[in-house]
């Protein structure tokens, strides 16, 4: 439905988005994961028509919309800061698009009332209609912003970090609600976020963006288990990345069974899931990668232990509390870290997954 083809955008010579191509299908929830400065907001604005690409094209249902001004595109854009109109109440904010759009404005107030009321019910804002935007909470503002866009029945809805400003409880609830709302309307959502859990939880399809490029796209579970690109692996925050000249020495020390020789030869980087590493005392008979214990972080259902390995890199080990008791480790003491060969992911010179 939405097709982005080889789109690039520079800001005074500095590339913000480079040669990006992807497709969003009908009735699909797509998440776009990227750290701040990765170009994800610029990409959204290029699609919405708030910026014009230097190169490439955007298509909607097969028709090119690259040169169409923003207000004629019928692409919904829910802004990060909500951008509610402070001089209008909740109802008028939501009715704004229906009343004032250039294409096919709704003149009949009774139709507007019906549509606005339906949307207000959908997003759970009943009873807030006459409040001014300054009188409602952050979560409600988020809903108004979403309702304001959805009521205009856009073909696709772009959400720029929609949950970024909400507290954790509300974020979790909105995660589920966003999915329900989308399913009910059958409209496609493209949700941009810097949070890997959000991206994994919400998307049927997921894109990872870094330095203006899409580095990987696919189903969230594949992304998490076998990231094809080293940047994806890093952005999952689930892997320890090993690199450098002593890579094979580190692997040989830490792997408890036989390593595959061919992959080892080509590998420049390796990723090992944090929860697949085990810790034993330095005095234990098993061999392992020597590491100095720094500190631990208790997160309720899991605990993360931080180690410093010989080359100065930090290695994190994650234990789920349901699987084992808390370990008693001494700060600045040396321990052995080890893992199994099958849990290692190998990346070559081009930072792509090997084999």
């Amino acid at each position: 439905m939405l097709e982005v083809k080889a789109v690039s955008k520079n800001f005074s010579g500095v590339p913000a988005v480079e040669d990006v191509s992807f497709t969003v299908n009908e009735n699909e929830y797509v998440t776009l994961l990227g750290s701040s400065g990765s170009g994800k907001s610029v990409l959204l604005r290029l699609i919405a028509g708030l910026l014009t690409p230097d190169e490439g094209d955007v298509f909607l249902n097969g028709a090119p919309i690259t040169d169409l001004p923003c207000h004629e595109r019928r692409i919904g854009f829910v802004q990060q800061k909500y951008a509610l109109f402070p001089h209008l109440n909740v109802y008028d904010n939501i009715a704004f698009g229906l009343r004032h759009r250039v294409i096919d404005p709704v003149k009949d107030e009774s139709i507007i009332r019906k549509k606005v009321q339906d949307t207000i019910e959908l997003v759970g804002l009943v009873g807030q209609e006459t409040k001014m935007t300054g009188q409602i909470s952050g979560g409600q503002k988020q809903r108004v912003s979403l309702a304001r866009t959805l009521v205009t029945e856009p073909k696709i809805c772009l959400l720029d970090e929609p949950l970024g400003a909400l507290d954790a409880n509300l974020r979790e609830r909105m995660t589920i609600e966003l999915q329900n709302i989308r399913r009910e309307l059958g409209v496609s959502f493209m949700h941009v976020t810097g949070n890997e859990f959000e991206a994994l939880a919400m998307g049927q399809n997921m894109l990872v963006m870094s330095d203006g490029r899409i580095v990987q796209q696919g189903a969230p579970q594949d992304m998490y288990a076998r990231p094809q690109d080293l940047i994806t692996a890093k952005s999952m925050h689930n892997f320890n990345i090993f690199s450098g000249d002593d890579l094979s020495a580190q692997l040989k020390a830490g792997t408890s069974d036989k390593l595959p020789a061919t992959k080892l030869k080509d590998a420049r980087f390796c990723a090992i899931p944090m929860d697949k590493i085990d810790i034993s005392d330095a005095s234990a008979k098993t061999s392992g990668l020597s590491a100095e214990f720094l500190t631990s972080e208790f997160l309720g259902n899991k605990i993360i232990y931080f180690f410093k390995i010989e080359n100065g890199d930090v290695c994190e080990v994650e234990d789920h509390m349901s699987l084992r008791e808390r370990r008693e480790l001494k700060a600045n003491a040396t321990y052995q870290l080890h893992w199994k060969s099958k849990d290692i992911l190998y990346y070559g010179e081009n930072k792509q997954l090997l084999g």
Partner: protein, 282 residues
Amino acid sequence: MRSNKGTWLLLSPGIIWIMLFLVAPLIMMIYVSFWTQTTFSIKPDMTVASWVNFFSSDTYFGALLRTVRIWFTVLVVTILVGYPVALYIGQFIKNKTLQTALLVTCVIPFWTSFLIRVLAWRPMLGKEGAINIVLQKIGIIDAPIEVLLFTELSVIIGMVQIYVVFMVGPIAFMIGRIDGSLIEGARDLGASTWTIFRRIILPLSMPGVIVGAIFVTVMVLGEFATASALSGRKVNLLGNIIITQVGSLKWAFAAVAGVVLTVVMATFVAIMLRIVNLRNQL
């Protein structure tokens, strides 16, 4: 209530100042307007003679109407001229430094004295002034336009030039505060540039227009110098009346004119503040 003493201590200089130099003179002015005025003296015997005289005399009541008419014209023209400038500075200039620089540029005329600014219009507007010479040279007119100087028009031109900056400043400030994301949001919802101006920018800049209107009103209604310098004393505003009455020791009469002027100003400011709740907006 512990801070009561401190609060009063902090407030007292302001209160004393306002009592001595605003409230007391105001009360005095109202009081004096009811005194009995004879040609060379004034007695504190209460009478409404000066009030009756003011409202029944064509000269004085006419001056009131003229004052209101000129004030209203100047107000409308300053909004019409000032708003686009403010819109340009506040919305089209993205660079904050350049915004400030442009606003400072608007204030440059204030670096010279008020009277010089007013008098500088004479060589501009006069029969052999710059405008007439230029228009004649390029052949648009054959004879000089005489209506340009020493008329109501010249007073209006002079006042607009002097006071328009007080309109531009507050409006540019309000427009500059409008978050760009609001405009993007409205555009994404399908609104055209005109609709965005009409439905978003204009209502959000109204507090600026109101503040500007109050500034201009207070200054124009009290004006006398521009009127006498640019009209050759032909256009008499209420301010000019007060000056001449005080000059000829007609205190009661001057007081009546003063009270009337104050009431007109206060009414307008009150209405403006009713329209826009500034406390919510600023």
